[in-house]
Subunit: 471 residues, 2 copies
């Protein structure tokens, strides 16, 4: 890709109008920096259109002039998908934040791509409904970015990922035409579902400008348990037992290793171990019910689980404050890992039934390759998705050794990913491919990469949409 | 498309081996006849491979020789998608029926495309799990066909359609290569979800040969109610109330008009009106819970609904036999319509909040165009999907007038579909496009048709996969 000519830039600026663009380095700097510091980019122009028509106009000019475009939402992505590399214009959707009003009979909410997740959750709450997507970056992540990366989070077990929560969407195609699929339809069998092309495509097939989201009834009751389990296998047996007894009411089932809890207790103020004895693994289970009785249901699950030896201890939160305390243990995990030195992160999935095997094999392989490395696998056990993060070994000079440890990222990732793939898993469960895993995708699954390239060729023959990402 | 040469046919027969093909008209006849009699086809050869390798070999020969292929499962489709028109070979998947074993930790079941839905349901039951897809043709419809048409049925409200129930799939690409996506992963963000290209594509982008299906826990308790409601609006209010009180436990919420119930009572032996007074509309509600208490939940819903004037009467089945009786009233609706003369059928969807409006407007428009015509809208209210069927007017010579009535199919369909589209709806909610609605799709949504054609060009540049269907 070559940079746009001054003439092209002038055309874009004229189309965007005052306030619709910037090339001020101070404005651009935070948008060109990936928050974990792995990607730094550049761009000749930030475009900030305020409407779908505006986005379409920008893309039309880009298509005519062969100018590449990188769409960006809240810039919370973890794989570099949202960062332009120098020649591409940066298209920010953050001025397009319109939400609603909710349709409480259809249980849907139409929102623009730049709306922040938390604001959308609040709009649903205000209508006595729930938009269930929930993840750490919800205060800044936007709907457009969440759709483009098919975001997951802690409630996938019950509600699915973004792909399951979008009933319709509007996207600007790579030639600047608008695909208007903003329906609130729950069934539509007019051929393959085209909106699914844009979900998880990381902006490589078009630019998501708005969506019709599914809403759900708010639960009447809730209960949260923190449970000590002897093994990952036991945690999985407990999960299936919980589903048997509570059906779809299990809204989260998160795994934590003891080392992770230790990190939290060590580095996070005002935390305490909720249980008296140490255990190798913990589960945070959240039950939300339409009828009263969530705690009774959870108690029955834990009692049966204890009888069968699948848990050694457990506590059910007695108040909303206690629920928040238990959740804070889980939610602090990423944060506290920073206090333990460098961390090599993996976002893998395997079939749920292979998870125990995966964790055992991957931990052993990593420890063999890098003695003293400390695996901290945690996350969405019910989805077969753990964040298999590895903290650097404890040494005398952690600061000095951090760099050497992180330099081994690719090597360690290959070891971990090979085991996930061997078990029928994925090298990217929820964070996407972006720049980070593009070459690895092509190497580990060439047919998938070829088919994605063919789709891209079909929809974006000029290759202007987020080039160099995914494939 | 031109017919395959004798040489091509010989190659195919040799590849398929004895028992793997037929050109016997007696064998072919039932496979070339659509069961409602709207489509009659022809083919030079029936291919019945017994493995994915066999399917791949057939498709490779077809790709090399430019021979068109029509895949067929249980031949229960309603839009002509499964019927070859003369020059295409007919590829039946019905020898590929392998099922399982179930993975009860991952809650998945791997099945071949030719497995019949009912057999799959039974395999899940045998493992104390549930595969929830349920529809009238479940005794003959196959998994491959159900995937290719993204089948729905009566439990979509709770479990989604086939698209939501497939975790992974295997497909033979139009060049004869095998796309192996038979993972049991609940999360996989390696770019857009490629399996979704094949779901609902009606065999135009490749041939589905196997799938990994999601299983669910079996419910512990169930209750079924038959409820008289004053209007479609009231039925919808009742639905949202039911969801508020029972969350995701509402597994079906089906609408029936009084005229439909009259048809059933008139023509179906051993049926009776479960309620004492007549009402304009009825709802069949099914609640399935993980804990005991389904009937209590349903009673609470009906009590509140009655207080608010959203229902005038109702009964909750007191036994499994009564549940079956109530369901039989709903399930007989298609069948008994045949006894009332010709019927023009529509399979539309609109946002749930527009359904009352749709039924009112479409009924009035049809009655204006064809005085005496009798609309019988029924079906999946919770999904915004009714089968808007219209029985011919009552006249002195119904047999004679039947033909004249059915001759107006296209005219009436255009009236009904225009109203659905105006309300943001679809002309095919669950039956697909096939041959029946191909031209109408191109006319009513040219951009959608163009994008589907581009996908087809990308994956099937020779145009050999089920040509002339969908686009």
């Amino acid at each position: 890709m070559t940079a746009p000519t001054p003439e092209t830039l002038s055309r874009l600026k004229a189309a965007l109008g005052p306030g619709g663009w910037s090339d001020d380095p101070v404005v651009l700097a935070p948008l060109l920096h990936e928050w974990r510091g792995r990607y730094e980019g550049g761009t000749p122009l930030l475009a900030r259109p305020s409407s779908t028509t505006g986005v379409a106009e920008v893309v039309r000019i880009c298509a005519e002039t062969g100018t590449a475009v990188v769409p960006q939402g809240g810039n919370t992505g973890l794989v570099g998908g949202q960062i332009p590399t120098g020649a591409e214009i940066l298209l920010s959707l953050t001025r397009m934040t319109r939400i609603g009003p909710p349709d409480t009979v259809n249980n849907t909410l139409e929102v623009q791509a730049g709306a922040v997740l938390q604001t959308v959750q609040q709009a649903a709450e205000a209508a006595e409904r729930r938009f269930p997507l929930s993840l750490a970056s919800e205060g800044s992540a936007t709907i457009g970015g969440l759709i483009s990366t098919n975001a997951g989070g802690v409630h996938v077990l019950r509600y699915g990922s973004m792909r399951d929560l979008v009933l319709g969407l509007e996207a600007v195609l790579p030639d600047g035409r608008v695909w208007s699929g903003l329906t609130g339809l729950r069934k539509d069998n007019r051929g393959p579902d085209l909106k699914l092309l844009f979900i998880g495509a990381e902006g490589t097939l078009g630019i998501v400008t708005a969506a019709t989201l599914k809403l759900f009834p708010r639960p009447a009751d809730r209960a949260v348990a923190f449970v000590a389990v002897p093994s990952v296998e036991a945690a999985l047996r407990l999960l299936r037992l919980a589903e048997e007894k509570a059906g779809g009411d299990i809204s989260a089932f998160e795994l934590m290793p003891r080392i992770g809890l230790d990190f939290v207790l060590r580095h996070m103020p005002d935390t305490r171990d909720p249980l008296k004895t140490r255990a190798p693994w913990y589960v945070l289970a959240d039950v939300e019910t339409a009828r009263p009785g969530a705690a009774d249901t959870l108690t029955a699950i834990l009692e049966t689980g204890a009888e069968r030896g699948w848990l050694s201890d457990g506590v059910i939160a007695a108040s909303a404050a206690q629920e928040a305390e238990l959740w804070r243990l889980r939610e602090s995990l990423s944060e506290v890992q920073k206090q333990e030195g460098g961390s090599i992160k993996h976002d893998i999935s395997v079939p749920v039934s292979r998870m125990a095997d995966f964790i055992r094999r991957a931990s052993a392989a990593v420890e063999a390759a890098c003695p003293g490395a400390r695996p901290v696998p945690f996350g969405h056990l019910g989805d077969g998705n753990v964040h298999f993060n590895i903290s650097q070994p404890l040494t005398e000079d952690m600061g000095r050794d951090r760099t050497a440890f992180l330099a081994r990222w690719e090597e360690i990732a290959q070891i971990v990913h090979a085991i996930a793939l061997e078990l029928g898993g994925s090298i990217s469960a929820e964070h996407g491919i972006g720049r980070m895993k593009r070459d690895e995708l092509a190497r580990t699954d060439p047919l998938r990469a070829e088919l994605i390239r063919r789709l891209k060729q079909a929809l974006d023959p000029k290759g202007i949409m987020n080039p160099g990402k995914v494939v």
